[in-house]
Amino acid sequence: MIEVSHLVKSYRDLKAVNDVSFKVEKGEILGFLGPNGAGKTTTMRMITGVLPPTSGSVKVAGFDVFEKAMEVKRRIGYLPETPPVYTDMTVRAYLRFVAEIKGVRRKQRQGEVDRVAVTTNCDKFIQRVIGNLSKGQRQRVGLAQALLNDPEVLILDEPTVGLDPAQIIEVRELIKSLAGKHTIILSTHILPEVVATCQRVLMLASGRVVADDTLKGLQKTHAGAATADGGMGPAPSLEEIFLKLTSA
């Protein structure tokens, strides 16, 4: 569904993303990990077509992000780092506007807005002006916006930032329930979240891919080194693997 090959983004001498390649199959949830400044957001922005890569290519559903930009945009729901909300609009007006530019037909628009508002729990404050909402509420409006028009691919940049523990669990459940039908790339700093929701983990460190495997596979690869007697050691936690890979 998503095919990233040899993606490079450089700012003068700094290579923010350095030769990143990976594939995401249809219906998969990919956990995108890495320390701050590893290039997660930059990679996601290149996948959505906001940022042009220095070299390399991205294909979504078989369409090149730059040559067939419109086809790709129709299939992607994107939640950037900062939720792209207009602080002077009400939640309802905002969602209606996004539904309109995403091409939801007039007759279905109301129903579609209500559907995403209910799934993301925005329906309680749908009449309020976004500027007066809390950070977590804005985050949920951003998530609701990404879900509009039911896109095949969801790119979520730290979707649970600013949410309270109960809401984090809700969003996690929501993302899990979207698996299968939707292809999701999820970036986060919260490692248990990856354990709970993602089938596969992609780890970046200073712009390079340092791990691309299932969680079990990662534990297997890194367990051997953990013991001295040559046998299988205790399965390391994702934290341990993360620290080991990113500190190098």
């Binding site: 922005r45 419109m70 207009y86 995403k102």
Partner: protein
């Protein structure tokens, strides 16, 4: 086109959800009314004088268009120079600062639809502002039953001139707003540029020959005045339309290139 209208609706929603449109309308009408009352007073004085000295010929030549409306349109044009920077400053700059431009970039909307949507909204705001001032000729018409009344054709042409000039200014403001993330910077630069289109006309009296004609052509005021006189000249229409085209084209380029920076 559908997307452009959706964006225009969103812009209008924000214009009227924030105080900016109301504040600018109020300023426009308050200052406009002050000028209107001054001109009305001047007309009154002139006609009294002609009556006192028994000059019916001069009194006959006195008409609303020349004494009141032609000057009024010039004055309203000056006020537009002051209020349009504040109406256009937000348009693209704020989207960049709040990162909402990323939303527009990741939805199936083209840069030209973004530009058209925003420009359409600004034209609606301009039309609203101008419609508020139609009260002036309407008031004159109401009280001037015995005189010849208002020449609505000339007044209409004056409004067409004001609209075209406002539309050209909006295009300039939109372009400058697309160059920066700061609303204040956008407003300031727009104001300076719009002011230049007026004060460049002053130097026309100091130059001669083709230079003089060139400077006069560049100045917006001479084109607006031509409409105010009640004439429709192709060269004035072309002047404003070319500014609009240039402004929108440049904005389109700026919006398109923003993501490459």
């Amino acid at each position: 086109m559908k997307n452009a209208i959706a964006i225009a609706k969103k812009e209008l929603n924000i214009y009227f959800a924030t105080p900016i449109a109301y504040v600018m309308f109020t300023l426009f009408v308050v200052i406009g009314s002050y000028f209107f009352l001054r001109l009305l007073g001047a007309y009154e004085q002139a006609s009294l004088q002609f009556m006192r000295f028994n000059q019916p010929e001069a009194a006959n030549r006195l008409n609303f268009q020349d004494v009141i409306f032609r000057n009024l349109f010039g004055n309203l044009g000056v006020i537009l120079v002051f209020i349009i920077p504040f109406l256009t400053m937000r348009l693209v700059a704020e989207e960049k600062r709040q990162k909402t431009i990323e939303l527009l970039y990741t939805t199936p909307v083209t840069p030209s639809q973004i530009v058209w949507g925003k420009y359409l909204a600004s034209l609606v705001i301009l039309t609203c502002a101008l419609l508020l001032t139609v009260t002036y000729p309407a008031l004159v018409q109401l009280v001037a039953k015995d005189a010849n009344g208002v020449e609505w054709r000339s007044v209409g042409l004056g409004y067409l001139g004001l609209f075209l000039m406002g539309a050209a200014y909006m295009a300039i403001g939109l372009f400058i707003s697309s160059l920066t993330e700061s609303q204040v910077v956008a407003a300031l630069i727009t104001f300076v540029v719009l002011l230049m289109t007026w004060i460049i006309g002053w130097s026309s009296s100091e130059s001669e020959g083709w230079m003089r004609e060139f400077v006069t052509y560049l100045a917006a005021v001479s084109h607006l005045d031509s409409f105010g006189k009640g004439t429709l000249d192709l060269k004035d229409v072309v002047y404003f339309l070319s500014i609009i085209t240039l402004g929108l084209f440049a904005t389109n380029r700026a919006v398109e290139s923003h993501r490459w920076s």
